[in-house]
Symmetry: D2
């Protein structure tokens, strides 16, 4: 029987009950619910709304309930509409009618907002650690693979040589932004709704400062209507999760490519690959494909909650019930993917010969143009002349560096036979020795920065 049955005639229709009940989802916040109630009971005692004795009784009862949850022994009943109802029902079973005093001055509206924020505050941190572990895997790779040169791609076409370490680190930095975003969501989540009641605020002089400190919040929401209706922290988490998903998807897409037979840069460890039920030879990078696919789901979860929130007319509307399923699902997706991806990267075999084999002379065309630039040719003209050489080589069916000197001199008489040095990929990479560039020296600096980024507190 729901908490609010007193005003109603007859029973709730079973199809309506089914649609309405949120217990299958919100029971995941059981411990947060108890914790919030413990703080509330203490606040009621301080406000004089409960005697010390009543407070103690309730506290003991709640702690026993927490123990039941922890031990997996809490039994839900068919009439438990949600986790809040279940806990209050059980409290009254355990300590009698005094349990019915706990909800004084409180509503499920501020209660659920508090529980949900607590859940996210507690779970964000371990998730941050998992992002960090994946960053560490990338940095470790960058260190281990230092010196190897790979083709850098734009438009999925070979562009210029870069250090493989540099490429790993590119993904490191996008995760660094993700971690900063998630950390900030956690901070913004730490604003206390409890004390807002249904929407108008508690009718007793409840000490919200105390509640805040007790529950580990950083600030108090200054408006009770806003307190029960704000779910920006949930969309903030979903946005951070979706964007993390986008970054994982981009990394995963590249990994799927680079472990293909055609690229062949990497070999996935058997422990992270899967096979085919039909084709005996297959070794599939499912883990990367799932990362890619679940990014779609994450984007859908963000979209879904934004849509739901957009339509809300008043302070608290039941539509808000959709918030938790989305957040929990997004959390589970990242929580599963992050360590699996870290493991896959850590155990990956790099194939240096395939990397080296993929460097072709054409990739140094810019260096060749720069050769002319150094002799005073405007870059735009140098570009055109080298492009003409590239086209000539193509038509003659040979690499551009196998064109004879005369061919170069026909394009521009400033070419001399030292031009062929421009085709050295090592030299090409070393020339990009600007801050953030692909040159070994610059990458070393970058690796140190990356190391610091892992150690230091996150910038705001």
């Amino acid at each position: 029987m729901p908490l609010w049955s007193g005003r109603f005639e007859g029973h709730t229709d079973p199809t309506a009950w089914e649609v309405n009940a949120s217990l299958p989802i919100d029971q995941r916040m059981a411990l947060q619910d108890v914790r919030g109630s413990l703080a509330w009971a203490a606040a009621l005692v301080k406000a004089g709304a409960l005697t010390q004795h009543e407070g103690d009784l309730i506290t003991r009862g709640l702690k026993e309930i927490a123990a039941e949850f922890t031990a997996g022994e809490f039994e839900f009943r068919p009439g438990d509409e949600d986790i809040h109802t279940a806990v209050e029902r059980r409290l009254i079973e355990r300590i009698g009618s005094t349990g019915g005093k706990l909800h004084t001055g409180r509503s499920r509206n501020d209660q659920v907002a508090t529980d949900f924020r607590l859940w996210l505050m507690q779970n964000a941190l371990p998730l941050l650690e998992k992002v960090k572990r994946l960053q560490r895997a990338l940095l470790t790779r960058a260190e281990a693979d230092f010196g190897l040169i790979m083709p850098g791609y734009t438009h999925l076409q070979r562009a210029q040589p870069v250090l493989l370490s540099h490429w790993w680190l590119a993904h490191f930095w996008s995760l660094q932004r993700d971690r900063a975003r998630l950390a900030q969501v956690a901070r913004r989540t730490a604003a206390l709704p409890l004390g807002a009641g249904g929407l108008a605020g508690a009718p007793f002089p409840v000490d919200r400062e105390l509640l805040k400190d007790e529950l580990g919040f950083a600030e108090i929401i200054p408006n009770s209507i806003d307190a029960v209706s704000d779910r920006d922290f949930a969309t903030g988490f979903l946005y951070a999760a979706a964007l993390t998903g986008v970054h994982l998807s981009r990394l995963a897409e590249a990994m799927a490519l680079f472990t293909s037979q055609e690229f062949g840069f990497f070999e996935l460890d058997d422990a992270y690959a899967t096979g085919s039920s039909l084709m005996p030879q297959k070794k599939n990078p499912d883990i990367f494909e799932l990362a890619r696919g679940r990014a779609g789901t994450l984007i859908g979860l963000l979209t879904g909650l934004l849509v739901t929130l957009k339509g809300l007319p008043s302070a608290y509307d039941k539509d808000l019930q959709e918030d938790k399923e989305a957040v929990f699902r997004a959390y589970d997706i990242l929580n599963g993917l992050l360590p699996a991806l870290a493991g896959a990267l850590e155990t990956l075999a790099v194939r240096p010969e395939r990397l080296a084999g993929a460097i072709e002379p054409g990739m140094m065309a810019t260096d060749l143009a720069d050769y002319l630039v150094a002799k005073g040719v405007p870059f735009r003209q140098a570009h055109a002349e080298v492009a003409g050489l590239a086209r000539r080589a193509l038509m003659e069916g040979r690499p551009v560096n196998e064109l004879p000197l005369e061919a170069f001199r026909e394009a521009n008489p400033l070419f001399e036979d030292d031009l062929y040095a421009a085709f050295d990929p090592q030299r090409s990479v070393e020339r990009r020795n600007v801050y953030g560039g692909a040159a070994p020296e610059a990458v070393r600096v970058q690796m140190e920065e990356a190391q610091r980024a892992l150690e230091q507190p996150l910038a705001q």
Copy 2:
């Protein structure tokens, strides 16, 4: 141990396994999987790839497994990667190595596509019936409430009087379109992938016509690569579900408004309302709010799968695994909401005095302009003159129909004292006697059409 372990060294990493395993989701297709396998076994016999005896043995084994599922006695094992693996594992347990012949010429790629389509084909029909039940509830309301006049709104402002029946029917027709869309999705889903193998087609002369007929498909997918990678039927279902959700949300939004104290047109039956844990007087239309909120989730599910599909590079990619969770969730949402909403409408109390009280003279302003039009005044001029009268009434603080005749004649001397008849809402409604209009006669015609729409097969 997965089906494909032969090529691999060591075990799958547990975090990767966790991400990869789809059993928690796809076990819902257990009976479809068995059914598809029964047809496949028969096809293998016909193709000479199995002896009749082997076919019989496999058939018997599969039927016993189906019985285990039906009885809830099937036991999954930790190594069951997905429902297909679980069934094959169990088959071999039951009938020995002959069970290992079932997967001949087949891949999980065509198998899962077949199972998934079968599931949707079987579940679409009952869902259509639930849409129909809600349509019937609307039509029944239209019949029961016939004759009552309500304010029609545009921009949420009172616009013109309409029959309440007309308003109910507006929602009937959007659901009629939804039903047509869902039925069409079901038809398009009935295209057989089985026989496509991994992507290149079965290597035995399997009779796909027979498979098609056996499994109740309407056509065969003419390209094996397309067969394993096409999920248009899944996005088609999600689109149909999302748009149905949008329509339910619009209806629900109106119901939430009309059951508010301010509108007060309807009173929700207690069996479909919920209360507050804090405020004893509250009677909340949660069922409508949840319909509104879950439309957001439905839009997110559609978005999510489209995004996932967009990124697929090859025939079958593991990203596709995200398809089923989305479809099942969308199905469950509609399956829950539709009957609950039908029940809520059926048991609703209409409050005629509140409807009547909401009709105000200003809503007949267009009729007043038409009065002048009938006397030859161009509509644009008549509109301006009546608008001027509306403004005058506003400034004088009285209803427009309480302005004296002189006031009307100042606006236009063609006004005579029969003008006041234009303010009769009944007459206003009756004037809209065009096909599809709000007039009682037109609405009667419309109700007959609605009845036929429920009885006839759906237009394509």
Copy 3:
């Protein structure tokens, strides 16, 4: 000055006017607006609401306005709120106050719905033709490239050999579904809203059958409230566009891969490639990348309109103004991409030696398992044994077909030296001679079906 200024005091605030005015978007429907008005004028004459003379005058005026639009000579004024207002304003300028009679019994609510549907009905057909042209390009490729074998991929890993023609046709069929969807949207769009007035229906006995026939609609919307508020046809178009976008994106992604140096299967014609401002050697497949990127935008457009529609409380709400920008943008995207992609495919150079070079013996592992199956070995056992051979070959660093006969016999004594024939890719492809399979014979049948699909009317 807007049409409705009579009731209002003072002027509209300029910032509000800016937000409100829709002319920059809806002027694209100018000719549809005039056409709808011509039909409306005729209907008013028939209903006796206009004299024949008035009708003629209005008709002449409207035709002159249409001529102004066609000649690009129509001049908009700052006070033109939208295209409907602009046309009515101009009509009164040209023919005097009789022009003010045109809007009798009509509202912009039914007018804009009519114009918008007309626009889509007229533009859907040419778009269908562009889809068809891309299908034709795919079929032409399939015919031209017949006989060439390419690696079929799953999980972006080489799976089994298929005919290149088969691969082209896989994309043909997804576009066939797109064309069917778009055609159906066009049919569903052809339901007439005109005559629905503001929301309650026209107050004159307007002949909606006549309007329907005159304007080329197929049916009449049977409920006036639904008529002004239904935008399912717009979301239907956006869904069809988004899914077409998804299919183009998948094709484009594959083309970007296959034109990469690593795959190298195709060479893009220079007319469809672009270069780099920096790197002289670059040849980028921008056209494919833009197809991929704009699929994202198309999904966003669908999402956006669904969200907007979800929130509507009453018959017509101004939120609906967002519908046209989304539809026009989606149309423009496809209208631009389709012919460019068709051209890119038509002019593509295929590199047979790269296709052939990408076939490796491991891709015939399934054929090898089938070899054992043919000797009575259960497929599951054969799969495991061949997987073991694949692993052995891998560890020995040689192709599986270079293992000696003894190695095979160790795996299974049923192997004899005819086993090596299983490694012939041509034979592998020919074995998939099931309907829809990759075998040349089956693909020929498929090409004929594809040809018929282009010629025949679309299935519903």
Copy 4:
């Protein structure tokens, strides 16, 4: 002729060119492009890649081009592929071949990222001011309407009385979060990509610190691959815009309700309302409906870009071209809506008698339960007893405060005749005197905090 034509044979196909050209969109960044080039020229001089004289020549040319843009005199040519090309083309026209030296060491990849970030950095601030203006309008309303009591709603049902000022402020705080988010996006956008070249970094010792300072960036992106491919700042802006849109939509939805005849709490000023082309009496709150509708579009824009980004395989892919249209459109939407909404709120008329008339005794049911709680009754029991009274009143058809004392005492004998004081809405509001509560004293504190929030720098 594009910059890169040297390598290509023949001309770009016109349909491909049309799809590819981004000038219609990116010309909006003309001044940012020039500004970035000015800084780049200075950096090239410092790095010795340009002589001082060349640098001066280029600088002068660029400044003249900037002047042409400012004066609206810059003429684009058909061959201008994008804004970068147009500026370089014009520079060479003006200063001759030295202009061809500007692109030395730079690519459009780092250039466009720099321009785009600069655009957002410059435009975010004015947008923040517009958010602030709307906040100020809300605070001003809170001050002006201080003391008025309105019904607070949950589930769109009357819940408890609150101060109207409190309700206005609830919306103030959601905009405060929006402003913080937008400010943070601006900060995160201020990371310099210039110097990253195509993807590998500049091949000259360019001083990126100098570039950073010159262009007003706060930090330098530490990885050149990340620099050209990162668009998190764009999705960050779109997320902040979408969530702002959600908040505006919620406010707008409430405003549309509260200006309806049924609620009637507010009257929109004529300058912010619009009328009907058909119905002379109509006064429509279009501005609020458009805010609501465009929130849908904003969500779609965010979704679209996330989808596009998700699919990117390499450092820079042309798909990224979709980023600007989305950001510009989102910016324009908010830029238009914010001041119009502020104006609408500022000029709104509040109708105190309608607010007061909407307070009904049932809304004090919680206060009545608290009456019993104060006498020691557990809240859960008090709730049930008062709920019973509410139901009794309903069945007897009278307000709960008109039940006789005996009725109350039957429910609970602790009721005494001072109970009726609980029905005073003023007293009910005053009881919510907790921090953040609806009581006048608490709201005064809140208004001071809101004032400070407008004056102080934004928290991180």
